[in-house]
Amino acid sequence: MIGVELRKMLRSHRTWITILLINALPTLVGVLLALTDLGPRPGSGPAFLSAVLSDGTLFPLAAVAIVLPLFLPTAVAVVAGEAIAGEAQAGTLRYVLVRPVGRTRLLVAKLVSVVVFVLLAVLVVAVSAYVLGSFLLGDQPVSASVSGTTLTSEQIAWRTALALGYAVLSMLGVAAIALFLSTVVESPLAAAMGALAVLIGSSLLLTLDAANSLSPFLPTRYWLSFIDLFRDPILWRNVLRGTGLQLLYVAVFLGAAWANFTTKDITD
């Protein structure tokens, strides 16, 4: 079933159009930077963006930092929100289930398909940013960590890979929430909007001092912690917390989705 879901996702034009749209913003930013040579001052603007004018190979990180707060989670919410509700709306859910595909298996296949989608999106963003960065942007290796010490290009390479992996992981929470909502409501749009509402609420609470006690549990809290991977030495604390938190969200919401979906009457 996982194979079938992947085939469906990869063959759909919508998947690729969504990924291209996600990729459009960092590409635009990169081209503008190259044309104007006006980078943001260090310490302002999206992470790493101030450094890319001198070292274009850092642009993949900057590009991922650009899409991570809004573009990527929106796409994930839409794709995951459609998982079950979309099949129900099209009427295909009942035929999938009588084929038979077990309900648990269907849920897992949908989650895997969403994760692969995120992986693809992050890879496309990173690779195209790397190409754009090396051709259009600066070519003096800065190799500077956020802490100011020097990193070898080898170190930068594997830390970048780690950061991309962390970005994919950060989307798991949204995916699980949207997937859960997708088993509850009958409209894919409602499921996607519900998941986005959670994220917007989470971002808003993070800015509020009164909500400090909640912040370690908010799904967006550790999203940008991948920057810590470029400190010297690596500051693991928030990265590990972020990983744990995302896994917790997956466990809770996938569990809830499973409990709801396996016991409900299919009435689409």
């Binding site: 079938v4 099209a90 009427g91 009942r94 289930l97 009588v98 084929r99 038979p100 077990g102 009457d265």
Partner: protein, 302 residues
């Protein structure tokens, strides 16, 4: 093939299906009749493990549902409440996807299975246009192709001729009879009396969630033992036959007799012009109407 015991489904205080005991035997073409809203689709969904019964038991192919869904469902083909497919893909691509979903299928014979079932439903020549551009009739045929993809032992079909023209209905009927001849048991849920009367060997009638009738079609429409006579001379005939007349109408009468030939001779001798004389039979429509109340979707004031 299908057996239910006091199968009940409640939605809150509404009883959609009320203690029904279905009995579908191997080789049957079972017509599951009922007005819209009488609980047919809910029953079908429970048989397929899509909805869970409130109480009661279901055995399909001898195994309990929903517990043994995984072993039973691969042997069943189903069409529930209209066909559905992935609109952006072609009919063939849809069948290939659905076929791949069931891990028990042999991949090597997939292509030939798809072509064969498309041929059987009359879509063999269909091109690669996406399903969203199909007509309702073509979608219905594709849904049937999907149902018979695995040469199932049991077909559960809900309103399979919906959206087809008379020619298409005829083709589907022939297909069902053909499949039945090869040993497939068919459970056909429908509100079309004529369709059931022409196709089915056994009939169950659902009325407001209750199974009010379940019998062989031949038994239900068997001669009643009375003889019906059509004649313009009703008064004269009554005189001739006296107490043997059960009912006298405007253009005919019903007679209780052991010997229709003698009766006919007596009528003719009395100068009655007999237009027609034969055993009385109830049509399926009369049987069903007698067993049910008005449709569940009519909301007339009491």
């Amino acid at each position: 093939m299908i057996r239910t015991e006091t199968l009940t489904k409640r939605y809150g205080s509404i009883v959609a299906v009320d203690e029904i005991d279905l009995d579908v035997r191997a080789g049957d073409i079972y017509g599951f009749l009922g007005a819209n809203g009488s609980g047919k689709t809910t029953t079908v969904r429970m048989l397929l493990g899509l909805a869970f019964p409130t109480s009661g038991h279901i055995l399909v192919l001898g195994q309990p549902i929903p517990k043994s869904k995984r072993t039973v469902l691969p042997m069943i083909g189903a069409l529930v409440e209209g066909p559905a497919a992935y609109g952006r893909l072609s009919g063939r691509a849809n069948l290939a996807l659905f076929d791949a979903m069931d891990a028990t299928g042999v991949r090597r014979s997939r292509r030939s299975r798809i072509e064969e079932s498309l041929d059987r439903v009359g879509l063999g020549g269909v091109d690669s246009r996406p399903v969203k551009s199909y007509s309702l009739g073509m979608r219905q045929r594709l849904g049937l192709a999907q149902a018979i993809l695995r040469t199932p032992r049991l077909l559960i079909l809900d309103e399979p001729t919906n959206g087809l023209d008379p020619q298409g209905i005829r083709e589907i009927r022939d297909l069902l009879l053909d499949l039945n001849g090869q040993g497939t048991t068919v459970f056909l849920s429908s509100h079309l009396l004529a369709e059931v009367e022409q196709t089915c060997s056994r009939v169950g009638v659902l009325d407001r969630g209750r199974l009010v009738l379940q019998d062989d079609l031949a038994t239900l429409t068997a001669p009643t033992g009375r003889t019906s006579v059509r004649t313009p001379d009703v008064a004269k005939a009554c005189q001739a036959l006296q107490s043997r007349v059960v009912v006298a109408g405007d253009d005919g009468l019903l007679i209780e007799t052991d010997d229709p030939a003698a009766t006919n001779a007596a009528l003719v001798a009395a100068g009655v012009r007999v237009l027609e004389l034969g055993p009385e039979r109830h049509t399926l429509e009369e049987v069903v109407l007698a067993a049910t109340q008005s449709g569940a979707d009519s909301m007339a004031r009491p």
